[in-house]
């Protein structure tokens, strides 16, 4: 018998959310960028797997920040190249 660890519930794992298409297009126009210019995250990242995001999704990560209190970051999910 084994209990599976849910990384999302761990205190040190920040909140990960999948962004809707509208949110993504708003994000891209806000920073005047393409998805290629976003920071990346691998599709097999434990938190990404847990929230069920697929490659080419954009993820919003909300962290508590030393400087700002709350900080949002966005990442594009990409497939991890083998090796």
């Amino acid at each position: 018998m084994s209990t599976k660890l849910n990384v999302i519930e761990h205190v040190m794992v920040p909140d990960h959310q999948i962004m809707s298409e509208d949110e993504v297009s708003e994000l891209l126009s806000r920073y005047n960028i393409t998805t290629e210019q976003l920071p990346k995250i691998y599709h097999d990242d434990p938190a990404v797997k847990m929230i069920g995001a697929e490659a080419d999704d954009v993820i919003r990560i909300i962290r508590t920040s030393h400087t700002a209190g709350r900080a949002e970051a966005y990442r594009l999910v990409i497939r991890k190249p083998k090796k």
Binding site: Y31, N32, I33, E36, Q37, L38, P39, S65, H66, T67, A68, A71, E72, A73, Y74, P81, K82, K83
Partner: protein, 879 residues
């Protein structure tokens, strides 16, 4: 914002023999360079078709002069193929994964697909040696494979089993080349090789390119002899051996000799390409120095990349020893006249400055003393010809200049220059100063700017650079002047401020209350351009007196209000405020120092609360003036009383020595008592520790306490009349611990935080009994530096001191490498106008700089607004 041009792809390939012959302008066959008349041999290594280096000659290929001809490649036809050392690993891989008979990859198409993926779904993986089992049978032709051994640097052999014994059979480069030729193009793609640009057999050289003479120029020594470049020497070797090889081959020499020569040719080609290959003795110059061949030109710190492309030597720079001059402003730098005469600023001639520049040209290149106006060294004509000014042509050139000319004027006072000290670890390591031409041979700087450069005057040297364009000068004075860099982005406080004697001096000047006559007060304030004195603080017998706090207040801005605790504050439970007997409660009301002592907390580098507040309220310019003022005031303050330290300043009286002996004796007894308790088995271990650890901790504690007690005893005797105490209390240098060690007791020496235990069996030195746990057997030094150490103590002290030295050495090398990697990773990032941090490709690294978009130099120690400071400054009292 996309970068102007995006690189689509980069193709890496090999030069094919065909390409080498095509780009070659001449086949080289003679090992000789120049004939007796100094003329290059045709088809020799210095053939005129390969470009020219001698002035006057013209290139036979492009018909250009030495300065314009870029040089052209030639080639050498090798008698037999040789391996290129740079590709031995690739060759080994190819030999191991392909069939020795048919040349196909030793995997079936299905097996290849498993690793590489199908055509539409590539995994991104490539075939590696590990994917092929050793000594298997070829799936295509059924040939039994043999194990391939590779011996550094360039020997390949097949292992055969003959009569049950393993026999190594050597492969010649020609054999290898034949095998590589057999590999079909389709099989190369899953191996990560594009056969269009890199056929594997091209890793075996059959023809060698000869680089143009322009990249291996010969130099003519003073005695008129020619000295050839290392590359030329190596090429000579290659051609000689190649020639001999051919002769022997044609004469039908025995196989053994041919093989030897082949190996020799391989050795020369190998060292020509890389002279630091493992398993290969480096080729040496006649003097014994290893030759610097092709790969050595590129590699390492002084190689082409790090030495010539990422960093280069520059003109308009100078370097000399630095020394202090407290009378300079922090934004100035004293430049020796010899340097100022040599370094120049180009000035374009316009109708508005022509007369001034004519005069400068007339002044000529020699400036007799620092007060004479600057001269000029060169005049550049509109056709870019340079005229060097000498005593004979000053007037003619002065009359000649007109708009369109440029005059290279010498450095003069108030020119902007960049000043730098290595290692340049942060941006304050290069700052713009204003020139002050001085006599002497050293750069002079105000000691208050030492902290950002991390400079001292024990022989440090610094560099100066002269910006050559208006843009550069504008950037230098607006962005990187000392004035703009008082605040460090590291912690948001002033990094420039008083050090050492500035702090001691201002402490002695402002401590308690003293009264100065007008003469004394004016002496103190001589260098601070004050317009009028404040009203005298008191008049006695008709003589006007100013208090020390009044004198200091003169240099404060009038609207300054702040309350804080000085460095000398002992953090008492209840603050006595103005009644503090240490005078540590600083209150500045309307620019008047009402109470308290100015010390490190107020004006010191890294702390400097007053400096910080002035920057926030009045700006950088006023703060610079304040720093200039207090450095001068404090130096004069310290000169008023004089400040020195001698061996007798560590003297205590008989009573103190008696007390110290008493304390140490008691401590030794206490240690012995605890050891006895331990030996009797009565010692109660602390939670989570063994009995031994508990004992060690107790002993350390007892001895540490004993040392502190001796310090307190010494401190009772040494008051503010003692210079070391003044320095420790004001925060200028040293601490009371240093003083304790000088006058009281040095205390326990430690290695890795523990008492010293290493040495002999169960003892540190043969002077002690085995198993002695006493204080003196494990590095407790009960004497003071003044009193002197006994031999065992001295030895323990050396042990403890060595640990510190090793730690610093290790730390600097590690942090230096870390810094290098950090800089390489972060150097091109910048904050865009929308507040994001982006790379040059426009990729976002941070969505908001530092997550809060705050510039640390403009924040108040991490907070956007210093609420407390503002409230205090308005209420004029502590909150």
């Amino acid at each position: 914002m996309p970068s102007p041009k995006r690189i689509g792809q980069i193709e890496f390939g090999l030069l094919s023999p065909k390409e080498i012959r095509e780009m070659s302008v001449r086949k080289i066959i003679w090992a000789d360079t120049y004939d007796d008349d100094g003329f290059p041999y045709p088809q020799g290594l210095m053939d005129l078709n390969l470009g020219v280096i001698d002035p006057g000659l013209r290139c036979k290929t492009c018909d250009q002069k030495a300065s314009d001809c870029p040089g052209h490649f030639g080639h050498i036809e090798l008698a037999k193929p040789v391996i290129h050392v740079g590709y031995t690993r690739l060759i080994r891989k190819l030999l191991r994964v392909t069939c020795r008979a048919c040349g196909r990859v030793l995997l079936s198409p299905e097996e290849v697909e498993k690793v590489v993926g199908t055509e539409d779904d590539l995994t991104g993986d490539l075939l590696s040696e590990k994917d092929v089992k050793k000594e298997r049978i070829c799936p295509h032709c059924g040939e039994q494979q043999l194990k391939i051994n590779f011996e550094k640097p360039t020997t390949f052999s097949e292992v055969m089993v003959e009569d049950g014994k393993k026999v190594e059979h050597k492969l010649t480069p020609a054999d290898i080349r034949a095998r590589l030729e057999k590999i079909p193009n389709e099989d190369l793609i899953p191996l990560g090789i594009n056969p269009d640009v890199a056929r594997p057999e091209w890793t075996i050289l059959t023809v060698l390119p000869v680089p143009p003479v322009t990249m291996r120029p010969s130099i003519i020594l003073e005695n008129g002899q020619r000295s050839e470049d290392d590359l030329t020497h190596k090429l000579v070797d290659i051609i000689r051996i190649n020639q001999r090889f051919k002769e022997n081959q044609d004469a039908g020499a025995p196989q053994l000799i041919i093989e030897d020569l082949w190996e020799l040719l391989q050795y020369h080609v190998t060292t020509y390409l890389d002279n630091e290959v493992a398993g290969c003795p480096p080729a040496r110059h006649r003097s014994g120095r290893p030759l610097k061949t092709l790969s050595q030109r590129l590699k390492g710190k002084d190689g082409r990349f790090r030495g010539s492309l990422s960093g280069k030597r520059v003109n308009f720079s100078s370097r000399t020893v630095i020394s202090p001059d407290p009378n300079l402003s922090v934004s100035q730098v004293g430049v020796p006249r010899a340097v100022a005469n040599e370094m120049t600023v180009p000035v374009r001639v316009t109708p508005y400055n022509i007369e001034e520049l004519r005069q400068i040209v007339r002044n000529g290149p020699t400036r007799p003393d620092v007060n004479s106006p600057c001269g000029a060294n060169y005049v550049i004509r509109p056709d870019n010809r340079r005229l060097r000014l000498g005593a004979d042509n000053l007037d003619t050139v002065a009359d000649m200049i007109e708009p369109g000319y440029t005059v290279e004027r010498q450095l003069r006072d108030d020119d902007v220059v960049l000043f730098n000290r290595q290692p340049s670890l942060h941006r304050m390591s290069i700052m713009a100063h204003r020139v002050k031409v001085m006599e002497g041979r050293t750069f002079r700087l105000n000691p208050a700017v030492c902290p950002p450069y991390n400079a001292d005057f024990d022989g440090d040297e610094m560099n100066m650079h002269v910006p050559q364009t208006e843009e550069a000068r504008a950037e230098a004075s607006i962005l990187i002047s000392v004035q703009e860099n008082i605040l460090s982005p590291r912690f948001g406080g002033p990094i420039i401020g008083g050090i050492h004697d500035h702090v001691s001096g201002i402490f002695m000047l402002t401590h308690d209350t003293r009264w100065f006559t007008k003469e004394q007060a004016l002496y103190l304030l001589r260098y601070t351009k004050i317009e009028r004195m404040p009203e005298p603080g008191k008049v006695e017998d008709g003589v006007e007196y100013w208090s020390n706090k009044q004198v200091f207040s003169v240099i404060l801005p009038e609207s300054l209000n702040m309350v804080f605790h000085a460095s000398s504050c002992q953090n008492c439970d209840t603050c006595k405020k103005e009644m503090c007997e240490r005078d540590a409660y600083v209150r500045i009301i309307d620019g008047k120092l009402e109470s308290g002592t100015i010390d490190k907390k107020a004006i010191g580098a890294f702390d400097g609360q007053v400096v910080n507040r002035i920057i926030r309220q009045q700006g950088m310019k006023r703060a610079t003036k304040f720093i200039d003022d207090f450095t001068k005031l404090s130096i004069r303050g310290i000169m008023l009383d004089g400040f020195s330290f001698g061996i007798d300043d560590e003297d205590l009286s008989k009573t103190e020595y008696g007390q110290i002996d008493e304390v140490l004796k008691n401590a030794a007894l206490d240690v012995e008592r605890r050891i006895r308790i331990y030996e009797d088995g009565q010692l109660e271990p602390m939670p989570g520790r063994t009995v031994e650890e508990t004992l060690e901790m107790q002993i350390m504690q007892v001895l540490g306490k004993a040392r502190d007690q001796t310090g307190q005893i010494a401190g009772r005797h040494l008051g503010l009349g003692n210079s070391a105490v003044v320095m420790a209390v004001s925060g200028a240098r040293g601490s009371m611990l240093n003083l304790t060690q000088m006058a009281g007791c040095i205390g326990q020496q430690s290695v890795r935080g523990e008492r010293i235990v290493r040495g002999y069996d169960d003892r540190t030195l043969p002077h002690f009994k085995k198993g002695d746990r006493g204080s003196d057997a494990h590095g407790f030094i009960q004497h003071s530096y003044k009193g002197g150490l006994n031999p065992t103590e001295f030895f323990f002290h050396a042990i403890g001191g060595r640990e510190g030295l090793v730690d610093t050495a290790v730390r600097t090398s590690q942090s230096g490498y870390l810094q290098r990697r950090m800089i390489n990773a972060l150097q091109d990032l910048k904050v865009a106008y929308d507040g994001t941090v982006r790379s040059t490709g426009g990729k976002i690294i941070q969505f908001e700089y530092g997550e809060d978009g705050t510039d640390p130099t403009k924040s108040a120690f991490g907070d956007p607004v210093d609420v407390k400071g503002i409230v205090e400054s308005i209420l004029k009292e502590e909150v």
